[in-house]
Amino acid sequence: MPGDTPSPGSGAVACVRDLVKNFKGAEKPALDGVSLEIPTGRVTGLVGPDGAGKTTLIRILAGLMAPDKGSVSVLGGAPGKDMEHVGYMPQRFGLYEDLTVQQNLDLYADMRALPADEREATFSRLLEFTDLARFRDRLAGALSGGMKQKLGLACALVKTPRLLLLDEPGVGVDPISRRELWAMVQELITDGLGVLWSTAYLDEAEKCDSVYLLSEGELLFSGDPAELTCSVEDRVVRLTGFEKRRRKVLTQMLDREGVIDGTIQGRSVRLLLKTPDELKGESGFEIAPAQPRFEDGFIERLGGGPKGTSALAEAYRNIEAGDGPAIEAKGLTRRFGDFTAAHDVSFSVPYGSIFGLLGPNGAGKSTTFKMLCGLLTPTEGSGAVAGHDLRSSGGRARAALGYMAQKFSLYGELSVAQNLNFFAGAYGLEGRDARHAVERVTEIFELGDRLKATAGTLPLGFKQRLALAAAVLHEPPVLFLDEPTSGVDPVTRREFWMHINGLVEKGVAVLVTTHFMEEAEYCDAITLIYRSEQIASGTPDELKSQAADMADLDDPTMEDTFIAMIEASDAQRPQEDGRAESEAA
């Protein structure tokens, strides 16, 4: 390895200097001159959107990959040498899904050569710690997302490590399980252990003792997360009391030079300003300081969010609101054998609004979503999209909706242009109409240079754009979004929601499922699904105030609200065995 072995500071268990790693065929290096130190006794956060280089860095630390340039020291030696004292929890493939919880633990104990006489004590300690003791004989593949991550953590801990590498333990896990995982890792922290926690969730970053913020392979920030948050202090404000629609206000505000970033939070609009005095003396709204967040600092480092007016929405047709609602669910129920995945779900979404389906993994929100877009046939009840009943005129209902899935689900082997042409044709656009539609989205989403590129090799932000472009080619009156922005960087997410907000102003109705509490804030109405039932519905502000009463919270965030409501629902059924049981079903 080139360069000298870096000498870590006192108490550091791992240390890298000026790492560079290139992958064949990639536009940019995965890591470009990154330095990092993992001290003991605290949680070091490795933060960044998907594709930032987090996994690459962790794999280098685990000795699974060699860097092109730079130096690495783990526990005072080369990486991969002293694996006995390194616990590593990979993002995927960490568990053997066809083995039971106990067999997984046994296997890891064998691999780590844990002496037989220590095993029983270690296992019962870990199972108690992760609350998995009841599930010893269950197959790992049958566990819920949150429980899998806990088991992964337990497996990484069979032999007490000095360095614990956690690659996105919170990914695909609902907010409650994420909080539990975080609390577990906090409990582990001792003077002898250093933890690296990687995450794409910026709110997790705030809780770390120190963070390294990566974006496209570059280190944007390192240090105490509060430092980044403080840099935007006084410049984050909340606007309330305006007459106009909140989305209009946000759009106008974002178009101003002095506004760096803005989001919707319930009835109010939250802004990041260039100078604290930007809005001084203006009328038409009330202005109050707001709590600065780590994400605000990140967005400023990335050069600010996109401007407010969506070119897509500008060019979009005006949706004529029909008589009925845009989306309607009436008593939707779906059973798989004995198991009821969704029970009696009803709501309606008017044109020009966003409706959110929220809930933990496996609670029934995906089932509901799939029934409404025609992927699953309801056992009972009915649904309609743009006035077309899903049973009797499914084809017309499907023609009226645009669909964007959580994971990039366009044709990765096809070029950008081939993807767009296909979706134009699939949605019934022909000849000139198809050509115009493709040209329009190509221009709006700036895909012109990349039309010939293979879709699968695009950078994440462009994939996101392409997916949205394909969904709106035929200018549908209804959009279905399934966790549309999980894992993308906040600027891309802002850009996405800027377009959605613009479309909604044109009359489009949007149904969105999400884990991201920030996305929930954009919704006009939300329904929370838990254990296959709707446990709460209302506007984000209504739900927050309900949660404030329920759990005696002062100004709860959307995530607090989510957790409070689920805990309240569990409290109503005390005779049952906690939520973990249902989560696993």
Partner: protein, 367 residues
Amino acid sequence: MSGALKAMIVKEFWELLRDPKARITLVLPPLIQLLIFSFAVTLQVENVAIGVLDRSSGTASTELIQRIAGAETFDEVRRLGSAEELRRAIDRQEVLAALVIEQDFDSRIARDETATVGVVLDGRRSNAAQIVGGYLTRIAADTGLELRPASTPPPQNAIAINWFNPNLEYIWFNMPSLLVVIVSVSCLSVTAQTVAREREMGTFDQLMVSPLTVPQILIGKMVPPFFVGLFNGSVYLVVAPLVFGVPFTGSIPWFYVGLTIYLVSLVGLGMFVSALSTTQQQAFLGSFVATIPVILLSGFASPLENMPDWLRAITYINPARYFMEISIGQFLKAMPAADMLPLLWPLVVIGFVTIAVSGWLFRARME
């Protein structure tokens, strides 16, 4: 054709041509099989070693042995000293067959009696042994005729004439059969991947929420493998006569009628495998599992007449069985249209059933 269907077909072609894995399944198997089957698989018996245990050592026996040594088939005639030596030579596979000439062979011929020759064949290589046995009988009969021209003709004086393939050229039989094998393998493997790939890549839901109907999706997915099969079949139709000298005696339009209907039933079968599989790996294994019986029960490797009744009954649902007959018939027998019809309607039925079932499965597997 509706624009949506056209878009679907174009997309499927692009996917087939842009995916490097799919491209390999397109080109490699037909090429490799053309090489292997046309040069390595031979049903002719050549370069055989034969043993002779001559206990008579007279003029007649010497004459017989010389004639055998002169035949092209046998490149080595090994003299064996004893029955024990004979047993060992067969056992070690040093010789495929051994001739036993008894002591009274010459004296019987001299007395104008019927003389017999014993033949020991290695049953472990039954096919080759049977053919060698046939050669030896003929040589022995010829020799007998010449040694005793005055005597009455031997009871078996039939002269075999092989119709349609007078010289029993194995390649005349192999090429039309190989055409069926290649068409089947390439078409099945391409079809089997199509739906499974979409499921694995996560694009399947995207497709199902579009206004495309299930028949449109199915047809769109079936067209490219259909053309892959058509292309491979056409290549063989050209290569077999031009490169390997196999005569094509039938009608080219009727050949294509047969090929088209066969491909439809085959694509239906592939679609069935594809709709059943959730991952590409399953689809790969599935197409393997489907391909083997399709080929083995087609009459290519072993004659259908030799199969037990229950197995022969199964071959009636194997589309390759019918097309095998069509292909060989069109190449070698100038098969008339009237003979085609009884072979075509089962293919139509098979295609109809498999496509209907896979269409149903296609939807049912989502729920």
